[in-house]
Amino acid sequence: MRVAILAPIKSSLYSRLVTHLAASEPGIEVVCIVVRTVWSIRRFRSDLHREGNRLLRKAYTRLVLSDEAADWGSSELLHSMARELNVPGTSLTDLAADYNIPLVEVKDHNDKVSENVLRDSKPDVIAFTGGGLIRENILNIPTRGILNCHMGILPEYRGMDVVEWPVIENRDGDPMLGLSLHFMDAGVDTGPILRQERIELQPGDTSESIRARMVPFMVTLMLDGIRGLRDGSITPEPQSLEAGKQYYVMHPRMVKYSEQRLSSR
C-alpha cells in the first residue's frame, strides 16, 4: 500500500514517528513526504485570524524553544517513544534520506506544487500529521482517503479545543475525552471513523497533561489505521452528524472555568 505523509514542519516529532513506523512496516511504501515551509505570510495571517495570540505562543515554542518545548510536542511520553523506537536524525529531512523517501517543501498543503507531487506519487492513503485545513483538490487524490487523528471523540466533539469542551460540559460526570482516527472529507472532522481511543482523567490533570498523554496514542492509532487498511481489517464507519456538535476556539474566560473544573475533581 502506498502512503504519503503530510507534515506541518520538518521537526514535528509526531510526523517523524508516523513516517518512521510506516516506512518500517512490511507491505507499506512511504511514497513521499510533503512538509510545509516554516514561514508564509498568507498562512500566518489565516492562522492568526483563527487562533489569535495562541498562534504566537505556538510559533515561539516551535521556532525559539524548538519542538522539545512545544505544548503537547513536549510530551515526555512522545520523546521516550521516539527514543525507544530509535527514530533516526532530528528532522524529516534526515528520515527521508535514511529511507530514501522524496521530501518536498510547500508553502501550503493545498497549493499546486503539493497537488502535483501528491498526484505523481499516486498514494492509496495520505497520513495527515498536521498543517492546516485540507481542500477538495487534495482530498480527492488518494484512492482510499486522508487519515487524520482528531483529539476528541467523534461524532460528539468535532472542531477545536475538544479537550477543554467535554470538561466544561460535564460538571460531575466523566468527560468524554479521547481520540478518533477518521478519513477527512470536506466538513470539519465529519469523515468516516476508523478507530477510537478513550482517555480517562487522572488526579491532578490539566488540559496540557491530557493532551500530552494523548499524543503517543495519535501515533499508534494512525499506524493501526494504516495497517488495518492494508490488511482489510478495518471498515470505516460513517458518522451520524446529528449525534454531535462542532466546537470552536474556546474563549480564555471559558478556558479558566474548564481548568477550575479539572482542578476541583
Partner: protein, 188 residues
C-alpha cells in the same frame, strides 16, 4: 539568549494582541453611574416573527448580502414561544449565526440586509449577543455563551475608543448583563 529575550517579548506581543476584556473591567463598566440598560424584553408579536421568517431570502438569517435586520430580536422571541414547529428553523439559524461569528471573528456581520446605519448595525450585533446568552441559558449549550464572550469583547474595544449613542450603549449594557447572568447560571 534568544530564550531569555524571547519570553518577555512574546508576553508583550500577546498582551498587545489580546482581545479578552478582564471581568473587573466589565463589572466597572456595568456599575458606572450613567449606566442605562435597554428594556429587557422587546415586544414582538408571533405574527410579526412568522412574517419576517417567511420573507427571509433563501430562508437564511445571514448571507453574503449581510445579516437580516431584526434577526436577534425575532429569533429570541421565537425561542421564547417554544413552539415545536419552529425548532428546526431556530436551531439551523442559530448554528449558522454561531458559525458566522466563529469563522469571521472580528469581521463578522459587516453589514445589514437591507443596508442601514452603523448604529443600527451595532444594535443588531448586540441583539445577537443577547440572543446567544439567552439561548445558552435555555439549552445549556455553552458554545453560544463562548461566542457571546467574543462578540462582547470585540464591541468593548470599539465602544471604549468611540463613544456610542445612548441607545447603543444601553443595548450593549444589556448584552453584558445577559452574559454575566449566563455565567452565574451556567459556570459559577
Amino acid at each position: 539568549m534568544k530564550k531569555i529575550l524571547g519570553r518577555p517579548l512574546l508576553s508583550l506581543v500577546c498582551k498587545w494582541l489580546d482581545d479578552t476584556i478582564p471581568i473587573e473591567k466589565i463589572q466597572r463598566f456595568l456599575e458606572s453611574k450613567e449606566s442605562e440598560v435597554a428594556e429587557d424584553v422587546a415586544k414582538v408579536s408571533l405574527a410579526d416573527v412568522q412574517e419576517w421568517a417567511a420573507n427571509l431570502p433563501g430562508g437564511k438569517v445571514v448571507s453574503k448580502a449581510g445579516l437580516q435586520a431584526d434577526t436577534g430580536t425575532y429569533l429570541d422571541a421565537l425561542e421564547r414561544e417554544g413552539r415545536p414547529e419552529d425548532q428546526e428553523f431556530l436551531l439551523t439559524s442559530l448554528e449558522s449565526l454561531l458559525r458566522h461569528v466563529e469563522v469571521r471573528r472580528k469581521k463578522c456581520f459587516p453589514n445589514l440586509d437591507p443596508p442601514s446605519s452603523p448604529e443600527r448595525l451595532w444594535l443588531e450585533k448586540h441583539d445577537i449577543a443577547i440572543l446567544f446568552c439567552r439561548h445558552a441559558c435555555r439549552t445549556g449549550d455553552l458554545r453560544f455563551l463562548n461566542a457571546a464572550f467574543k462578540l462582547n469583547d470585540w464591541a468593548f474595544k470599539t465602544h471604549e475608543r468611540r463613544t456610542p449613542t445612548k441607545p447603543c450603549l444601553a443595548r450593549y449594557r444589556l448584552a453584558l448583563k445577559e452574559q454575566e447572568r449566563a455565567v452565574e447560571e451556567l459556570l459559577d
